[in-house]
Symmetry: C2
Subunit: 385 residues, 2 copies
């Protein structure tokens, strides 16, 4: 366990240094946060600072001077407590909720994370995919992001994204619609809540997933901050899917981080006539990104062999093939998301209510459907077959 | 040179055997057409038949029996002459117009080809790309096929396709529109002219390119004939581009032939929501096909290094960047295909006629534009820079 003093020093450093500062990361490989803060404040710490190379190297020396000038930005214990009172929580390396895959970032690992939301970040990210893309997404891109995110959520894959307009928002919304867990990693602080237009979306994510930021809660996002944040999106997830991106889009930066972390990079193709798909095609063509067209394609790249469901593109499962035509017709009308009443299902399937109820009973007994708060809904396929 | 007797025997065999019959191909590796026809007609030929394995193997024996029953289908010399009178010509291996790349087909090399049209088949195919795809193409697919084929034609790359509805027709039409050379390899005979709805298209192809078939001119296409024909499309060209294809589409068969011939297989991505792009995505995802989005992408895969033009996706050429804004505005209004009068160019560029004429003169002197039969037109970029 980390000592209280060490925790306090780490929190203080997170208010002094820029996110992802590699000089800080390199220094912390040689000394503790407490020791480093001792150098910043001019105190000697606990006296155990041992610098392998003799005097401090110039880069760290300059950084310590910069941090010293900002010591006034370290908040009081009362301020920190007020943030935690308002629903924020702090997670540090070694804490139970800390996602250990972030350690793959090495010297640019975030110092700590601020979180808001009901979800447990470590659990939410254990089987997750990053889905990112253009802010100026097209209707096509938004549609694909919603469908793919929902399809992954139905297979218990969480979605990590950046909470931005466009593809990010569609990916979050698709997951929420499928009752899945979604994680938004924001470039600014969680109290700042940028972009403001997403206040409602962020509330919804907090109810069902987690909002994440490595920045002090009240700090606004900076331009380089968006790119620096992308490394966390890539590192939290098992792979990154770019849904739409123009050439030289920021989304390609997320893909680059994923590749550096040896995680699969995937891209969704689109019309070659669309500028917003040009970046995806470039990823496939020139950077070896996997071409993915649906949730199952993504699953094949992020699930270890043996754990992935059978390829659903080829048609219905064998168990489903064994159903009689009337029961199949009824099953066809049971939605996967939300729910539908038996009368509505009967009308859509072209059978009378009694038949529909009989078939629904059979289907429920066989594990194909279940009754939810909004009516009958189809169970996820992995469980049904 | 091939003797007249050998030519006649080869032509006769082409009326007896099915296209691409590997038993025939294997036999012709051991004996001449004349010798084989001797076995079919029961004559001894010139007596030089030597079978390495002693008696004929059963497959060839059965084939000869089949061919013998069809001897009545071999046309008279007068009939052959009448076809040639009507504008058809026969090309056999060893003839100057025979495309030697067909020899890569080995035992399934066509016995001969019937041709119609002004183009020289060997020249037309020397730098050509096969462009194939769905009959039930979408507006998107047809648009991409036309543009890509025209773009390749402007770079002196011919287009080989199958003359079918959909992508094939769009590929031919795009080439014709750009004054390029296009080759249609039909599954049925050239007199039969299937599909009938393409009579006008075939006339246009014959005026500017070549119609090709390995079938007797009056024979209609058979269902397996379409697939067997595809090997010729793949073998004539330097690589195969699939523009749109559903899963399990016949166009994927062309791609398979190209791969067997070690020629590049390329596929155009499209919306993942379109069934007609699913086959293309499958090719990219599972079969290692190259993702191509424009004529330049195709060029990179089929032109030997050093001969390909600079990548035009990144923007205008340096030489073009050196032009002043007014001259650039005038150049913008000079079409690449067809032509435009100086008055029209002046109006569109927002300059007066004198300025337009002065700029056009300068642009012509620098090799950017030229005067064609329909007015000023932009020269192909490789020549201008």
């Amino acid at each position: 366990m980390v000592s209280d003093g060490e925790r306090r020093a780490r929190v203080a450093l997170s208010f002094l240094a820029q996110p992802g500062d590699p000089v800080l990361g390199a220094a912390l490989e040689r000394m503790s946060c407490g020791d480093l803060m001792g150098l910043v404040t001019g105190a000697d710490g606990d006296g155990s600072v041992v610098l392998t190379g003799g005097p401090l190297e110039p880069a760290l020396d300059r950084a310590i001077c910069r941090w010293r000038e900002r010591l006034g930005e370290v908040p009081s214990m009362a301020r920190l407590a007020a943030w935690q009172q308002s629903g924020l929580r702090l997670v540090l390396p070694g804490d139970p909720e800390w996602p250990t895959q972030l350690d793959d970032l090495g010297t640019v690992r975030p110092l700590l994370l601020w979180l808001r939301g009901c979800g447990d970040l470590r659990l939410a990210c254990a089987s997750s995919v990053a889905m990112v893309g253009a802010r100026a997404a097209t209707g096509y891109g938004n549609h694909v992001a919603v469908e793919m995110a929902a399809g992954l959520a139905e297979r218990d894959i969480g979605i990590v994204s950046g909470g931005a307009f466009g593809i990010d928002a569609s990916a979050h919304r698709g997951t929420l619609a499928a009752d899945g867990v979604t994680v938004a990693v924001l470039a600014g602080g969680l109290e700042f809540g940028y972009p403001r237009g997403h206040t409602d979306l962020f509330l919804a994510i907090a109810r069902q997933g987690v909002l994440v930021s490595e920045c002090p809660p009240d700090r606004g996002p900076t331009r380089p901050g968006f790119l620096i944040r992308n490394r966390i999106i890539a590192a939290l997830s098992r792979g990154t899917v770019v849904v739409e991106a123009a050439l030289r889009s920021g989304a390609l930066n997320s893909a680059r981080h994923a590749r550096e972390l040896c995680r699969p990079v995937m891209a969704v193709p689109g019309p070659v006539t669309s500028d917003q798909s040009a970046g995806c095609h470039e990823l496939i063509r020139d950077f070896g990104a996997m071409c993915v067209t649906c949730a199952n394609d993504v699953l094949q790249h992020v699930c270890p062999p043996g754990t992935q469901p059978s390829d659903l593109r080829l048609g219905p499962s064998t168990a489903r093939d064994l159903l009689d035509p009337v029961t199949t017709a009824v099953l066809e009308e049971v939605p996967v998301r939300g729910g539908r009443g038996p009368a509505s299902i009967a009308v859509r399937a072209g059978v009378d209510l009694d038949t529909a109820l009989r078939c629904l009973g059979l289907l429920a007994a066989s594990g194909f459907v279940e009754r939810g708060p909004q009516g009958w809904r189809a169970k996820r396929l992995e469980r049904a077959v």
